[in-house]
């Protein structure tokens, strides 16, 4: 069965800290890995990674994928209280002509002032 494991499950830091969120996976027919941020209700898209070793960056957030070791990390530098959210990692898998996401449980990040 396809599996995505995120760690830690929960993290509390102070503003200005840098955090690294981890996502490892065991899936068949890997297509891409995605990171989402869920602040209140709807998960919102952050990054999609398909190739190893190519860092994707958006402001203070960055992410990289290692397809050999089957993991990805999401870095957030100089954290702000607005970064508090659940960060979801999902792997897009393909089954025949079908595509679906397999999610991890998420990492709950709390940034305190």
């Amino acid at each position: 069965e396809d599996k995505v494991v995120q760690s830690p499950l929960s993290l509390v830091v102070h503003e200005g800290d840098t955090v690294t969120l981890n996502c490892s996976y065991e899936v068949t027919n890997f297509r891409s890995l995605l990171w989402y941020k869920q602040e209140k209700k709807a998960p919102t898209f952050l990054f999609m990674l398909t190739s190893s070793g190519i860092e994707k960056k958006s402001g203070r957030l960055s992410s990289i994928l290692d397809k050999k070791e089957l993991f990805s990390i999401l870095n957030i530098t100089a954290t702000q209280t607005g970064d508090s959210a659940i960060y979801l990692c999902a792997v897009e898998v393909r089954g025949g002509s079908n595509y679906k996401l397999t999610f991890g449980k998420g990492t709950l990040l709390t940034v305190n002032p």
């Binding site: 995505v4 297509r31 891409s32 995605l34 989402y36 209140k40 209700k41 709807a42 998960p43 919102t44 898209f45 999609m48 979801l88 999902a90 897009e92 393909r94 089954g95 002509s97 079908n98 595509y99 679906k100 996401l101 397999t102 999610f103 991890g104 449980k105 998420g106």
Partner: protein, 115 residues
């Protein structure tokens, strides 16, 4: 542009009752997905529509769940009769491209509580 909208935001019903959740995808998005998160667990895939056709319904838990997308626009997910373990948040998502070559846009979810 309106995002993915879901109705209701929260529904509380008793075991054995019926609930219908609705999802309006982003206009023009042929691909519509239903996912579910039960407490303490991961968000799990339920099914995928391409227009009005069920492309993949391998994640549907059992035959108490019925999803429809008549006309290829909005979709409904009916649970009948509801059981306690059906409680959770039901997310709908849509995308223009199959295979997530583009982004997958999520709705805010419909929380279902079965008492």
């Amino acid at each position: 542009e309106a995002g993915v909208t879901q109705f209701p935001s929260h529904s509380v019903i008793e075991k054995g009752q019926t609930v219908t959740l609705r999802c309006d995808p982003i206009s023009g998005h042929d691909n519509l997905y239903w996912y579910r998160r039960v407490m303490g667990k991961e968000i799990k895939f339920l099914l995928h529509f391409v227009k009005e056709s069920k492309q993949d319904e391998s994640g549907m838990p059992n035959n108490r769940f019925l999803a429809e997308r008549t006309g290829g626009t909005y979709s409904t997910l009916k649970v009948q009769p509801a059981e306690l373990e059906d409680s959770g948040v039901y997310f709908c998502a849509s995308s223009q491209d199959e295979g997530l070559t583009g982004e997958l846009f999520f709705g805010e979810g419909s929380r279902l509580t079965v008492l």
